[in-house]
Symmetry: C2
Subunit: 311 residues, 2 copies
């Protein structure tokens, strides 16, 4: 049976028709228009699913930001699509399309995607970190995904990598996310800005909006501020990975998400920092790699949720 | 069927005859004499098991320090009983006694002990931290013990709680163990020693050997050096627990091992530090408690290994 994978985001809803080998035969994207209200958004999701299913019976897998209640198919809290919070999305899809749907947090869906279609096919022990606006994560250990005690998943991006680090949006200090995400890098740019007002980072930022590309481009040109920010990124990520290796002893750490594609900039240094922080007997037991699924990672992750739940 | 639980240590081998409800009917201890060589130590373990079994057929559960190969029943590396490294202890016991035996790392055995006989009976999601000479740990999540990718377990005591912290024996910096273990506290005493040469810690230490009791006794008398050391202990443990909650989302964190019994000194502050470092939506989802198994924790943990593997 084919699957429709749905990647919910605050800006776009992406969906694709996927077969069980991960081949995408059709893909559609629509704007989320997150402020248009619950019914409108749900209708657009359902429309997208029907469009892609083309009168076939399909299974539906959904990857959503935020915390989710997978048993009841409800998004508990996602701060960029608040209109969907508390909505029984899985039940709605069933009612309107007749299809069985399965909901998962997007970072955990990305982990499942690696297991079904990506680099983790041959291991039962790996961790996926999704590097983007924030840091998400999914740990898969001894053959199953860790979803955490209360079913709404852990927050790997909020493990503390440096208690003397920057204050995080969550109220704690030095979370992984304060170093190794776009949000984190943007804060580090602010911290260093007064010393480097002429940094290329600002020249590369349209309308004063600093994105990862501006920082990475400036870094490649040898810009000092960008170099400091990239070092913070690498340092935090390396320490975080070191701790995760010590805790979980995985075979693979797979980096995915938008920023992971800038791997030529950070991967070698992250590997070194992680190596310095792993327990000696574990330090040669794992590898850190970049997801091969690239921009298809989120959609294939969503699709794999349906496969994992019905396997 | 009754179980003989064997708690292997560098100084003592403790064993007990335990029934399936955790009742201990007989207990024996023998010196390890770790330098007497493989055969002698194995013979003592087998003698102990036979003594306790008293012609009944029993199952044997063994808790061992260090890294173990549970599938083949071999202690891979334990630095305080090196004579047993590489020895097929499970097979030897089977040959000499006819009993099926099951081997586990001692901190992970302690976690199983809490599940079978302790405070974790009614939860599928908890973490045990054993606080002693070092810090060990076992995470039990969604109904099973995490033993790590290569079967020889994670090293939770070596998660990094402060990358600017003290150098650890493992070569990394600021591992949980450098703060919240006897070894860690002893190093902090050295760091502060020159400023507080008259500390009560030294008065309470026989022959200059500083143990946890000396530090805790001095703390209770208001000693400044001891206060600083206990604060480091609490701070590291609180941050480590905060990260573990964010990663695993457990219902319970259970502190066991020798130092945990000084809970009147540290528990409240550890709870506060952990609270400051957990993700807001998780911060009321867990509790930190002291193991109720007390000095029986290690033996009951060892016994529970046999129960868990044959359940």
């Amino acid at each position: 049976m084919n699957i429709v994978g749905v990647d919910l985001g605050g800006t776009n809803i992406k969906a694709a028709l996927v077969d069980e080998s991960g081949e995408i035969s059709m893909q559609k994207t629509t704007k989320t228009f997150a402020n248009e209200g619950t019914e409108m958004i749900c209708d657009r999701i359902i429309e997208l699913i029907k469009d892609l299913a083309q009168n076939e019976v399909v299974k539906v897998g959904i990857g959503s930001p935020g915390s989710i209640d997978r048993e009841n198919g409800v998004i508990k809290y996602a701060n960029n699509i608040t209109a969907l919070n508390g909505v029984k999305i899985v039940q709605k899809i069933k009612e309107k399309t007749g299809f069985d749907a399965y909901l998962e947090n997007d970072a955990k869906a990305a982990a499942l995607g690696e297991k079904w279609f990506g680099s983790a096919k041959n291991t039962e022990n790996f961790i996926v970190l999704t590097l983007g606006t924030g840091v998400g994560g999914g740990a898969y250990t001894e053959g199953h995904l860790i979803v955490g005690g209360h079913g709404f998943g852990g927050e790997i991006g909020h493990m503390i990598v440096d208690p003397s680090g920057p204050v995080c949006s969550c109220g704690s200090k030095g979370c992984l996310e304060t170093f190794s995400s776009v949000t984190g890098m943007r804060e580090w740019v602010k911290i260093f800005k007064e010393r480097y007002p002429d940094s290329l980072v600002f020249k590369h930022s349209e309308n004063g909006f600093i994105d990862a590309k501006a920082i990475f481009d400036a870094y490649k040109e040898g810009d000092r501020l960008a170099t400091l920010v990239v070092r913070k990124f690498n340092w935090g990520l390396g320490i975080g990975i070191g701790s995760l290796v010590n805790i979980f002893n995985p075979d693979l750490i797979i980096l995915s998400g938008g920023i992971s594609r800038a791997n030529d900039i950070f991967l070698e240094e992250v590997k070194q920092v992680a190596h310095e922080h792993t327990y000696p007997s574990l330090s040669h037991s794992y590898d850190i790699i970049i997801s091969e699924l690239k921009e298809k990672g989120a959609i294939l992750g969503a699709a794999s949720v349906a496969l994992e739940r019905t396997k």
